[in-house]
Symmetry: C2
Subunit: 200 residues, 2 copies
Amino acid sequence: MKLQLTSPYTESVSQVHEPSTTRDSSPSQQPRWLAPQERDAWLRLVGVVIKLPTALDAQLQRDAGISLFEYQVLAGLSEAPDRMLRMSDLAELTNGSLSRLSHVVKRLGSRGWVRREPCPEDGRSTNAILTDEGLAKITATAPGHVDTVRRLVIDALTAAQVRSLREIGTRILQQVDPADTFRLRRAAPDAPAPGQERSR
Amino acid sequence: MKLQLTSPYTESVSQVHEPSTTRDSSPSQQPRWLAPQERDAWLRLVGVVIKLPTALDAQLQRDAGISLFEYQVLAGLSEAPDRMLRMSDLAELTNGSLSRLSHVVKRLGSRGWVRREPCPEDGRSTNAILTDEGLAKITATAPGHVDTVRRLVIDALTAAQVRSLREIGTRILQQVDPADTFRLRRAAPDAPAPGQERSR
DNA sequence: GAGCAGAACTTGAAGCGTCAAGCTTCCTGT
DNA sequence: ACAGGAAGCTTGACGCTTCAAGTTCTGCTC
């Protein structure tokens, strides 16, 4: 096995060296390749981004017969007031498209875990509601999933690394989805004042 | 928008509290929920893991008409000796299944960027080879992609965070795919004395 | 108060990845 | 030297996601 590099991130491939046009809004000809440590960090991240969801899906599929996305849908509803959420809110919460969610809710509906109901306040909207069976399902599934999350991520890191991960994730998400930034500002202030949820 | 929690990671859902059976190999009934900062780091990571590939795919699709995985395939070949790699090595390199790779190489072949050739040394193996057109393609595509990687990830972080990310990624990958660990040991040894490790 | 842009959602079709089979080729033991 | 099993790869079918319309409803604006 002689696999060494993974992709042209350092200057091995391209000889194109446009010396500092400094106009970087046109994504075409910048020679700003990655330094070795940067490239390395990047390749690790790509590995995580590809393999972690697969691993989580595998555990959920094996133990509960649902996908990670389905888990997130059920889990999101389980923590919502009245176990009910508008489709678009649920889509945003689960980082999924409305279309995807619509398909998934239909499947979850046919399994008896979710039902739909027109939203009284806005005729265009649909509310997704977690049924009792759905709550039972997510309640039964959660411990195994959380255990997996611990094993694969949290418990593999030091406390300092967990803090760092949180900050790094925030930074990346701000770049990837700036519109979403306001969501990043809420949630868990650094010092844990435990046991107060229930606001909204 | 009143979305607050994303999934039962803290103890909001389950009332199941088996007090310390301490047997954790059976992934069924552990009440070890996540502390708020842990949960928060986790939700950030999930966001990244879902949205980052989408963003990268979008850029590549828009500017070059290829997916991230296809990019990785072409890029991997471009850096290999003779621009040639056995299918299984390429699969491992790109974090993909052999089956997936086979389909993708077929598509890339029909676009003229890759060709297949039986491996002389091992009759079971197939070599994937990057054509001149394929090299031209990846050479043209790389700068825009690297620029995106910089914008979304590297340049959004401090140097210390990049180092941290590298270490965190390594840890997670060791958990997710222990068989792959040897690959994590190679690559970029120039990390400056990484203060703490070896927690478990 | 009528028309119109846009928001919220659904649906069907097309594309991609996974899974299970199947086909060669290689290796190991006897 | 040959049988059995494993490794490497390909293929087809199925399921899920995305994409592009299409529908219904809301809120503006004139």
